[in-house]
Amino acid sequence: MTDMGSVSFESDGDVVIARLAGEVDLSNAASLGDRLAAAVPNDALGLVIDASATTYLDSSGVGLLFDLASRLRRRQQRLALVVPERSSLMRVLGIVDAASAMPIVATLEDGVARVRADD
């Protein structure tokens, strides 16, 4: 069964949390990216993308994350990415050095904390 990507939102005060589930590839990366960007209001501190349930992600998805990070940075908002340790996704993110563009953490709490951090 193919489970193409979907995204759902919730908020934790001034932080938007997006749960990205299923597969992300060329066919849906652009639209998912637009929805993610649109979900962050100007007064939010930033966005945490929880990719715990993301089953596939390739360079299209990586591109989406880099784009999003730079868009939010221009708006002086932060992006954090939650990815379980030792996951296949982590290998891909490692190869493209995603950590250079956004903090990658193992839990949602850490992600929210990173967006709120005063540094």
């Binding site: 069964m1 193409m4 597969e23 060329l26 066919s27 596939y56 390739d58 990586v62 880099f66 493209v96």
Partner: protein, 878 residues
């Protein structure tokens, strides 16, 4: 006043009166209320003071006052007036209306009329189909001259009352007859349903006992040699109530048998007909009737009550009628058993003929099983009657034509020629029309249809084949020489005819039932199985050779999420009922499955649904959901034999988890589901118990045999597998139970994967699905598979995104497990790669290089080719 106007007013008044009496609303009243209402209206319309209805008591030919208005004393006194005497008596005798202008000076039988002070009276007969059933009369306390119009109105009311009386009587007798019929039907219906004598008696006795509310029932049968009565079955009584054996004429039952008529003992203590043993029982009263078949006593049916009671004429009659039916049922049952034996003999003979046929290649196609039986019977008839020919003609559906069905002796050619005789014509036609035996000593004196008979036969005797008033055909015997067939000959022939008629009737009923059930069931099995991706499916259904059609079914159906529903079930009952239950369960299962519930939930819903079916229906079902993309099968079992998983590598296993009770067995059953993986090359087999269970073999033995076959036959295609399993487990012999098999084989691993896909981003997901599955078959672990999927998708995305703009373009993906312990992928398109656009593109190449061990892009005139390879830990280790 204008005379015309007066005339019109009178007509109107008359019409209104008529309407008052014949109003439709009256029809809804109960009998008593209707009569009272009519009497009220009659007195009103005729301005009378009294009205009365008297009905004829046929036993005494007297009129009895039944209802009255203003003359209630007459009813209370139950005045009886002989027909022909007095006022009412004369009306009844003369059958027309009579008016009495002066009651005080007339010939009046009933003193009450005069005492009441009636001056004038008018009466009319109550007529039903020309017969008088009573009288209606009205009276006045003042002198009056009744007119013709009055008489006509009264007659109209009388007609209305007569109709009501008649209806009510008819209804009453109908109701009583229907009740008796219903109870008698219960006796007969049992006779048809159970043909084995002992079962039959068990049921019949219970029903007979209920007929008159007796306490004990005994059936004694006359022994074949006619010497003694032997107790065959008892209910509520000591087995040897009257002694297990009785000479004819001895004791109570013996006397009934000897005299061939019903006997009643109202007080057992003081009867002189008793055996000492019977006197010792606690019985108060007894009744016994002879069991008669064609006037011959075949046994005695006796009923007893512990309380002393008198048996009404009606009770005796009812028991005798029940006895008649039981006698017939017992006789039929005996015949049926003889028939079954004959059938078995004939089958054996037929088997022999079949063998000879196959060896000698002689075409004997016209011999069928039923003809065999018929011919055997005819041979017996001919021999016993010392005739030269014996033949059976069978009536067609319309009972208009007789067809020569079987013959033994000089007429055999008639059957081959398919001779037909219209009912009413020729010899057989006359027997059929008259429905009684016909004897012709000289054939030349009658019309015969077949010239053959006239030439070769001199004398004939024929009897109709009749079952329950249905004429099924004719049996006749003939002699070449002149012969006067005796009454004994005819009686013998009739005995054979009774036998034959029952046999033909049974075989027709059976054939019809079997045909309907088989058709119904076949219509419920899938014609064609749906294609299941990356798997092949095969099924077989083998009807049982037993008495009735079974209730096995199976189903394969795609579900919305890309998985497939596989179901197999077995309804416990048999015949038309089983087939219809099976249809309902199958459709319900389809509905629940399509709702997307898991197997355990589907079985729970199905179980709840099975409880709503009429009667207690048990069924076993296994329901499985197979996911072609992963090979995972989730299943749940309701009392069904466990599915078999035949492994391409490793021993076959029975999937015996997820077990629950059969459907319809318990209230609120719960089911659990279990899971297994059908790997490439594995076969999942669902089957019904008919495959592994037989009367002469334990189910364990059957399962063991199935496993043994599976161990050595894992590589079989599913259609071969089902065929071979059937041959292996059932052999050449027939099965009593029906068998259904459903096999699904996951396609074996292939070293090469080749996909041609449209250059469209939306295909990437399904491309990964195919590739993931293939990677599983060639031994990639989860991480390796992920890496390869990403690399392949990157290459494919380039082909889709960069290669060209226009639609209709395709690209190819090839995967191959190479000898070097890894896989090689080639992605080929017809376009030319362009440099990556945008800041965040171009990481694809980086990923491909990093995730794969080898990576190479070649761009030429024909397009772009990406070659990648990766070593797999499992393959390197192998």
């Amino acid at each position: 006043v204008d005379p015309d106007e007066r005339q019109a007013a009178a007509s109107y008044e008359r019409l209104r009166h008529l309407q008052t009496i014949s109003e439709a609303a009256l029809a809804h009243l109960r009998f008593d209320d209707l009569i009272a209402e009519l009497l009220g209206r009659v007195t009103g319309v005729l301005s009378a003071d009294t009205a009365a209805v008297l009905l004829v008591d046929e036993a005494t030919n007297e009129l009895v006052a039944t209802a009255a208005k203003g003359l209630e004393e007459e009813v209370e006194a139950q005045v009886r007036i002989p027909v022909g005497r007095g006022f009412a008596g004369r009306i009844a005798a003369e059958r027309h209306a009579i008016a009495l202008d002066d009651v005080q000076h007339a010939d009046i039988f009933n003193p009450i009329l005069r005492e009441k002070g009636l001056q004038s009276m008018l009466g009319a007969p109550l007529l039903v189909q020309g017969g008088v059933i009573g009288v209606l009369h009205v009276g006045t306390l003042t002198p009056r001259t009744f007119t013709d119009d009055d008489a006509e109105l009264l007659q109209l009311a009388a007609d209305r009352i007569a109709l009501a009386v008649d209806h009510s009587r008819l209804y009453e007798s109908e109701r009583r007859a229907a009740e008796q019929l219903r109870r008698l039907e219960a006796v007969t219906e049992a006779a048809l349903a159970h043909l084995a004598l002992d079962d039959l008696l068990d049921v019949l006795m219970v029903r007979v006992r209920a007929l008159i509310g007796a306490d004990t029932v005994v059936v004694m049968l006359v022994e074949d040699d006619g010497g003694e009565l032997v107790t065959r079955a008892t209910l509520g009584a000591e087995p040897a109530l009257e002694g297990a054996r009785l000479a004819l004429g001895e004791g109570f039952s013996g006397t009934v048998a000897a005299e061939g008529r019903p006997l009643v003992i109202e007080d057992v203590r003081s009867s002189d007909l008793l055996t000492p043993r019977l006197r010792d029982t606690r019985l108060g009263s007894m009744i016994a009737v002879p069991l008669l078949v064609s006037g011959r006593v075949t046994g005695v049916l006796g009923l007893g009550t512990f309380e002393r009671r008198a048996f009404a004429e009606e009770d005796v009659d009812l028991i005798q009628r029940a006895g008649d039916r039981i006698a017939l049922a017992i006789e039929n049952s005996r015949l049926y058993e003889a028939e079954r034996q004959a059938r078995a003999d004939a089958e054996a003979a037929f088997e022999q003929i079949r063998r000879i046929e196959s060896i000698a290649e002689v075409a004997l196609h016209h011999i069928t099983l039923d003809d065999e039986i018929l011919e055997r019977l005819l041979t017996r008839v001919r021999d016993v009657l010392d005739a030269d020919t014996a033949a059976v003609f069978v009536a067609d559906e319309s009972s208009q034509t007789l067809v020569a069905r079987a013959a033994k002796g000089v007429e055999e050619g008639e059957v081959e020629r398919g001779v037909e005789v219209p009912v009413g014509r020729g010899f057989a036609g006359r027997v059929a029309e008259r429905r009684e035996p016909v004897v012709v000593t000289d054939v030349s004196t009658i019309e015969v249809v077949s010239p053959f008979l006239r030439e070769r036969i001199h004398s004939l005797a024929g009897v109709p084949l009749v079952v329950e008033d249905r004429m099924l055909g004719v049996l006749h015997v003939g002699t070449r020489e002149r012969r006067e067939f005796t009454a004994d000959d005819v009686a013998l022939l009739q005995l054979a005819a009774e036998r034959l008629a029952v046999a033909i009737d049974h075989s027709r009923l059976y054939a019809r039932e079997h045909f309907v059930a088989a058709t119904l069931q076949r219509s419920l099995l899938p014609d064609r199985l749906p294609e299941v991706p990356r798997a092949r499916v095969a099924s077989r259904y083998l009807p049982g050779e037993g008495e009735a059609v079974g209730g096995d079914w199976y189903d394969v159906m795609p579900l919305r999420d890309g998985t497939y529903a596989l179901a197999m079930g077995d309804v416990v009952s048999r015949g038309i009922r089983a087939a219809s239950v099976m249809g309902q369960l199958r459709n319900a299962l389809r509905a629940y499955a399509l709702e997307g519930h898991g197997p355990a939930k589907v079985l729970e819903q199905l179980d709840a649904m099975a409880h709503t079916l009429e009667g207690r229906e048990l069924a076993t079902v296994v329901y499985a959901v197979f996911d072609p993309s992963s090979g995972v099968v989730v299943y749940a079992i309701a009392g069904h034999p466990p599915p078999l998983l035949v492994r391409a590598e490793g021993a076959p296993v029975l999937l015996d988890e997820g077990r629950g009770p059969p459907l319809g067995a318990l209230i609120d059953s719960s089911f659990e589901q279990a899971q297994a993986v059908v790997r490439p090359g594995d076969t999942l087999l669902l089957y019904t118990d008919g495959l592994v269970e037989r009367r002469d073999r334990w189910i364990d033995e059957g399962l063991e045999q199935m496993l043994a076959y599976a161990r050595r036959s894992a590589e079989r295609a599913p259609d071969e597998l089902v065929e071979e399993l059937l041959a292996e487990l059932l052999g050449a012999g027939s099965t009593e139970d029906d068998v259904a098999l459903l096999a699904l084989r996951s396609d074996p691993a292939t070293a090469v994967l080749r996909l041609t896909l449209p250059a469209d981003p939306t295909v990437l997901g399904s491309m990964r699905q195919s590739l993931r599955r293939w990677l599983g078959t060639v031994g990639a672990d989860e991480d390796e598979a992920y890496d390869i999927l990403v690399a392949a998708t990157e290459a494919a995305a380039n082909a889709v995104e960069h290669a060209y703009g226009p639609a209709d373009a395709t690209f190819e993906l090839e995967g191959e497990a190479n000898g070097g312990g890894g896989v090689e992928l080639v992605i080929r398109d017809a376009g030319t790669w362009r440099p990556p656009r945008g800041r965040n593109r171009g990481r694809g190449t980086l990923l491909m290089q990093a995730l794969m061990d080898e990576f190479e892009v070649t761009t030429g005139d024909a397009g772009t080719i990406v070659r990648m390879a990766k070593r797999l830990a499992a393959r390197l280790a192998a």
